[in-house]
């Protein structure tokens, strides 16, 4: 498939003009770029959702006069979109074969045939035996992504476009996905793999195209460009290295700020103990479902658990989130859209939401002027790009949304900050800024616990790493002992088949 001289603009804003891109059968093209670089629009043009303003689309050497969604489907071009499109209450089999279900609107559906076919699909494509009769809502986020992929692959016969498929996947699921991609490539698919993760270029790519501001700024065979070169192409300036430079002016041996002893909820958190000093960054590594998120939730009181927590030496027994806030213990949870952002509410309101009564109340009245000044100063300090403080936070890119959320929690000058996947799904530029913020926060004397599935990031951020597996802390590494292979081994450990199911 071939794009020639494609131009597209929305509401007068030019996304790109005169763009060329080739997809070749039996090749994986990794499409890299920051948010807003135009990756999603390319995906939408390829799959016929959006029509280009100018330019030609060729398929198999033939110019396609009227490219559309149905024409794309006819030729076997399929895309997996970032937002999952599964029906949570239907079974895996029904979801995967949804097309067949809707096509035969008359006549009974043979359940047994359905289950058999779906199970065969998973076996053939992934080499995995998944119970396809389970409802999708009972699956983990990673498993759902796999179902989504199987569903799309089933509809595709020539071109497959994956839009950031690995964002929510554990390391294990990710490798499984890459095996699937390899298999599809061998079958002659042209694959477009849209991603933020630089390491995926080497892992699955044959060729890499890097986008910035609506143009393809570099194209090369995978392996020709180093990670640093790719980063530079993506952001166009030299901030990528910032995160790797450790700020060394932090207090080396501060007093203990957070002490956790024997935390146990009898299920996902088993006898977890650790302490974090002021100015220290503690990383929690582990596979999806290892209990890292649950530990953070138990500490702030979102999850009932036995065991002792002390903040700055003061025991904290009846844990509740509102009380945690008061004690200077804040959690920036993982799922920004569901758990943190009030998407349709203004940016200013999103910053001040937890601090309404403490900061912005004058005898029950809302002090709006103070609120605006406070929120405005914070989002400027965090370099958030926005039109107006009154615009809904949904109008920002993911990275800017995350900066707003981070600004919200750090604004109270907290004692302890728990960060759950703070850079998940955001672009390289914002990621570097957020990592730098984390360092600065530690330098100011906060104790930080960070959970990240991006191991290089975790190693660059942390002073110490604890590895969790099935609710337990299974290993600890000091900074000078950091070794990706050893951490991965400790995280996956024995009994890996159980984690895969």
């Amino acid at each position: 498939m071939r794009l020639r001289g494609i131009s597209k603009s929305f509401d007068g804003t030019t996304v790109f003009s005169g763009l060329d891109l080739d997809l070749r059968a039996g090749e994986v093209l990794v499409l890299l770029g920051e948010n807003g670089a135009g990756k999603s629009t390319i995906k939408n043009i390829l799959s016929g959702i959006v029509a280009p303003d100018a330019g030609t689309i060729e398929f198999d050497g033939q110019a396609e006069a009227s490219w559309s969604q149905s024409r794309a489907a006819e030729l076997g071009v399929a895309a997996i979109h970032q937002e999952l499109s599964l029906f949570p209450n239907l079974s895996v089999a029904e979801n995967v074969l949804i097309r067949e279900l809707s096509r035969s609107s008359v006549g009974p559906v043979s359940r047994r045939r359905l289950v058999r076919e779906a199970a065969a699909l998973f076996r053939d494509l992934l080499g995995v035996d998944l119970d396809v009769t389970r409802p999708v809502e009972s699956l983990s986020l990673g498993q759902r992504q796999v179902v989504e992929i199987v569903k799309a692959v089933r509809m595709a016969s020539s071109v497959l476009i994956l839009d950031e498929p690995t964002t929510s996947l554990s390391m294990h699921d990710r490798e499984q996905l890459f095996r699937v991609i390899g298999r599809l490539r061998a079958e002659g698919f042209a694959i477009v793999h849209v991603t933020h993760f630089l390491d995926e270029v080497a892992a699955v790519g044959d060729r890499v195209a890097i986008m910035r501001d609506g143009a393809i700024v570099a194209q090369a065979a995978a392996g020709e460009l180093s990670a640093a070169q790719i980063e530079q192409h993506m952001i166009g300036r030299e901030v990528a290295a910032v995160a790797r430079e450790r700020a060394n002016d932090r207090p080396a041996e501060g007093p203990v700020a957070l002490e956790v002893a024997g935390l146990d909820d009898g299920e996902r958190v088993r006898d977890v103990s650790f302490s974090v000093r002021r100015g220290e960054i503690l990383g929690l590594a582990g596979l999806t479902g290892a209990g890292r998120t649950e530990v953070l939730h138990a500490i702030v009181g979102l999850r009932p658990a036995l065991g002792d927590v002390a903040v700055a030496g003061v025991p904290y027994r009846a844990r509740r989130l509102a009380e945690s806030k008061r004690r200077g213990l804040v959690l920036v949870s993982e799922d920004r859209r569901l758990e943190q952002a009030f998407l349709q509410r203004p940016i200013a309101e999103n910053v001040t939401a937890p601090w309404l009564s403490r900061v912005f109340r004058r005898g029950g009245w809302l002090d709006r002027r103070r609120e605006r000044a406070f929120a405005g100063a914070l989002v400027d300090e965090f370099d958030v790009r926005y039109d107006s403080l009154d615009s809904p936070i949904a109008s920002l890119s993911g990275g800017n949304q995350q900066k707003v959320i981070l600004a919200r929690w750090i604004s109270s000058d907290p004692e302890v900050v728990l960060l759950d996947e703070p850079t998940k799904g955001i672009d390289v530029g914002a990621r570097a800024q957020i990592q730098e913020r984390v360092f600065r926060l530690a330098a100011r004397g906060a104790a930080i616990v960070v959970v990240s599935s991006d191991l290089p990031e975790l190693m660059s951020l942390s002073d110490r790493i604890l590895v969790m597996q099935r609710g337990r802390v299974t290993a600890a590494f000091a900074r000078e002992e950091f070794d990706p292979a050893a951490i991965l081994r400790a995280a996956s450990g024995a009994g890996e088949s159980g984690a895969a199911a």
């Binding site: 009030f342 509410r345 309101e349 939401a353 912005f360 109340r361 029950g364 809302l366």
Partner: protein, 320 residues
């Protein structure tokens, strides 16, 4: 030129519709615009506006209060009974408001801290409160099985029909309540929390906002306002009527929805509901001037809901 128009449309989407309704009726129904009819229009809308303020708050927190009509009726009956038995009008009015508050608190406790479904909970309180209103009215009016209206003490009608500078007293009360509601929603931290919980209750919980307490307060306030609406109704009619709330629920929900407050919570406001309520009453007055009956009103109400929803859809589609 276009910008102020769009801004007005955004803040009060029903305003142009109300204008069209009034213009149309003034053309087809002679006498529609005479002062007496306008006064009646404002009087008729007062009870609806007050009850709708509470309902708007409930919608904003993505809840639902089906009991509002029953509470209005029960409050009017209570006010009439207590005022009649004690001979003290003020005591009767307080009793009416207290009944509303009690039902509201009960709804709120069940839905907030206990986490019951708002639809089911307020359906139950609708039925119970409605039955209690009918039973107590029947006993008080001494008519055994058939429940009629319970008369308020003499002299009450004076306030209900009175006007100040041509504006009906009851409408002035309604506007005062609207002002208080706007202040509560837009100028207090509580109002902000209502919007945040309505927009995303999970995120509100993660921000350390007590979602259950916000919900409890919202239903309590809605009950309180329904109680106030009930005593205004009693003052206006000169009696407490158990049947009065039967189509009040439909009118209240219609006013909030066509006013432009989202059923799904978070977005909307008090003033737009006022325009919604006035639109409904303007249509009803027009119909009655034309000599059409209650059932015709229901048909029009249904059409208005659909057109109103369609209107908001088109508007939001165009304006982004």
């Amino acid at each position: 030129m276009l910008r102020p128009i769009l801004r007005t449309l955004n803040a009060a989407p029903m305003l142009p519709v109300l204008v069209v309704v009034i213009v149309v009726f003034s053309l087809v129904a002679p006498g529609y615009l005479n002062p007496a009819n306008i006064q009646n229009l404002l009087r008729d809308s007062s009870v609806l506006i007050i009850a709708s303020m509470g309902a708007t708050l409930v919608f904003l927190v993505s809840g639902l209060d089906l009991s509002v009509g029953s509470v209005v009726a029960a409050s009017s009956v209570t006010a009439a009974i207590v005022a009649g038995q004690s001979g003290d009008l003020a005591l009767g009015l307080v009793a009416g408001v207290v009944v509303g508050l009690l039902v509201g608190v009960l709804n709120g406790v069940l839905i907030g801290p206990l986490g019951l479904n708002p639809f089911v909970t307020t359906l139950a309180s609708l039925l119970v409160v409605r039955a209690l209103a009918y039973v107590s009215a029947a006993i008080a009016s001494g008519q055994g099985g058939t429940a009629g209206a319970v008369a308020m003490p003499d002299g009450v009608a004076g306030f209900g029909r009175g006007v100040v500078l041509g504006i009906p007293n009851v409408f002035i009360v309604a506007i005062a309540i609207v002002v208080l509601s706007v202040l509560l929603l837009e100028k207090t931290t509580f109002g902000r929390r209502v919007r945040l919980v309505g927009q995303n209750d999970v995120a509100a919980a993660f921000a350390g906002i007590s979602v259950a307490r916000v919900r409890l307060l919202v239903y309590a306030i809605a009950g309180l306002l329904a109680g106030v609406a009930g005593i205004i109704l009693a003052l206006r009619l000169g009696s407490g009527s158990p049947a009065a709330g039967d189509d009040m629920l439909l009118q209240v929900i219609t006013a909030v929805i066509i006013g432009g407050t989202a059923v799904s919570g978070g977005s909307g406001g008090m003033v737009r509901t006022v325009w919604g309520a006035l639109t409904i009453v303007a249509i009803e007055r027009g119909m009655s001037v034309l000599g059409l009956k209650f059932y015709d009103n229901l048909i029009v109400l249904g059409v208005v809901i659909l057109l109103g929803t369609l209107f908001h859809r088109v508007k939001s589609g165009r304006m982004g």
